[in-house]
């Protein structure tokens, strides 16, 4: 069996990158994590993919009294259902075809430490019952054995699924959910805390310098930072980290400019109302495009005149009353949306 607990050897800085930020919610999250580490309770971490659920689990372990014992991550989605049980709880020789020797499962390997059950929503219902028993009596039962073995492990589970919805359609056990969620930790997506993006970017740049001490210091131009700030980051902190690494490699000066950003990030605020070079089969919505361009020019005029509507109207060659009407229609209001 090739599946082994991964060896975790990362710097403190990397491990805690999910927790970097000054958003009030992130500060509260850090306080909760620090506190939960000291208490030996089961934790359920929820958050979208890439927010750093494993990083948080690792941070809890690293600050807990169990820190000198193993931290064993298990991805419940990465193993076939029928293998997951023997991987977790071990098996006895002859328990099934191919079980040539006794094998201690990951719970036993995590003895004295922490087991991190990622993507817990993917655990089959039959195994959920067995996990619940382990949580209740602290005994694991290897496959093919009728004797339970005592194990001292802290369980941290994580998911990006809506477990409440799964419970409602009987795809996840409610009793296990409550047993896991002694302390719920919710990690917000990056787009809900954009103000932390510059801090994270600086952190990833600094980290790259730690890894490559000879490298020159890099900064991100204000314009590029605005684009990073405005992007929605569906892959969350992990996507941002990967992008910063990519930009470091590609950057040939001391400043990361917009030109280095991938098109989906650099063009996000403009693509919708740019005039296409060639009309494709899908065509365009002329009215919408014209209104959008009109709105942009009105904004441009207002900006140049410091908000003076009369002067802005003059710049655009419009009568003040016409301008006022257009402003109402386009300045801030989407005409296609007003109903």
């Amino acid at each position: 069996m090739a599946f082994e607990a991964r060896v975790i050897d990362r710097s403190y800085a990397t491990v805690h990158s999910a927790l970097i930020g000054e958003h009030p919610t992130i500060r509260k999250l850090r306080a909760l994590i620090e506190r939960v580490a000291r208490q030996d309770v089961t934790v359920l971490i929820t958050g979208e993919s890439g927010v750093g659920k494993e990083i948080v689990a690792q941070a809890i372990h690293d600050s807990s009294p169990r820190r000198d014992n193993p931290f064993v991550p298990v991805n419940c989605a990465a193993l076939p259902h029928d293998l997951l049980e023997s991987e977790m709880f071990g098996h006895q020789r002859g328990a099934f075809t191919g079980a040539a020797t006794n094998r201690a499962g990951l719970f036993m390997s995590a003895g004295g430490g922490t087991i991190f059950l990622d993507e817990i929503s993917e655990m089959p219902l039959g195994l959920q019952v067995k996990l619940l028993r382990v949580l209740e009596d602290g005994m694991v039962r290897p496959v093919g054995s009728d004797r339970g073995l005592r194990v001292d492990v802290r369980v941290i589970a994580a998911t990006n699924a809506d477990l409440n919805a799964m419970i409602a359609r009987n795809a996840f056990r409610e009793d296990l959910f409550y047993r896991l969620q002694v302390v719920p930790i919710v990690i917000p997506p990056l787009r809900e805390r954009r103000s932390d993006i510059p801090l994270l970017v600086d952190h990833f740049l600094a980290q790259a310098r730690v890894r490559h001490p000879g490298a020159r210091p890099l900064r991100v131009s204000d314009e590029a930072m605005v684009h990073l700030w405005s992007y929605d980051w569906p892959g969350n902190v992990r996507e941002l980290e990967n992008l910063v690494e990519r930009m470091i490699i590609l950057c040939e000066s001391d400043t990361i400019e917009v030109s280095l950003l991938p098109p989906n990030i650099a063009n996000q605020s403009r693509t919708a109302d740019e005039i296409p070079e060639k009309l494709d089969e899908r065509g365009i919505d002329l009215n919408k495009l014209v209104k959008s361009i009109e709105g942009r020019l009105i904004n441009q005029a207002l900006r140049q005149t410091g908000g003076n509507k009369q002067a802005a109207a003059r710049l655009l060659g419009l009568k003040r009353t016409t301008f006022a009407a257009k402003l109402r229609r386009c300045g801030v209001i989407s005409p296609s949306d007003a109903d």
Binding site: R35, V183, E192, L302, I333
Partner: protein
């Protein structure tokens, strides 16, 4: 009233009364309770007497612009954590850059679309709710520890 059932109160600060009216209409359609202000000063005054969950702030206003309002909000601990969505021109990079530095939570480009407005507001309110749930979990943990001998 229980927080979960409460309708979120969203303040609109914009010097153009028609814009305020239409944004308020959008907010009601998206299930929020609008609180209207046609100047930064009026907004700040209303904030002292009303519980506001989020502020939609126009950047370009006479007397006190959006940045000045932002600085006042951040000065007062009572208002410093209220998320602010600033309404700016689509490609006004300088304004966005300055807003980022002042702690703006998000930007909306003009023209504002109702659905997008609703989604951006819900994302910020979700974040506030996560913060509250996190504080609650911390308090429960501390209480349970205090009970132990």
């Amino acid at each position: 009233m229980d927080d979960a059932e409460r309708v979120a109160q969203i303040m609109v600060i914009d010097d153009d009364p028609d814009t305020v009216k239409i944004l308020a209409h959008y907010l009601r359609r998206e299930g929020f309770n609008p609180v209207e202000a046609t100047s930064g000063a009026e907004g700040l005054r209303l904030l002292a007497e009303t519980r506001i969950d989020l502020i939609l702030l126009d950047l370009m206003m006479p007397d006190m612009d959006g940045f000045a309002v932002m600085r006042e909000l951040k000065k007062d601990p009572m208002t410093a954590e209220i998320p602010v969505i600033m309404v700016t021109a689509r490609d006004d990079l300088n304004a966005r850059s300055e807003g980022m530095g002042l702690g703006v939570a998000d930007f909306l480009a003009k023209p504002v679309f109702r659905k997008q407005l609703g989604n951006r507001i819900r994302a910020q309110l979700e974040m506030v709710a996560t913060g509250r749930a996190t504080s609650a979990a911390l308090s429960r943990l501390e209480a349970s520890q205090a009970k132990r001998p």
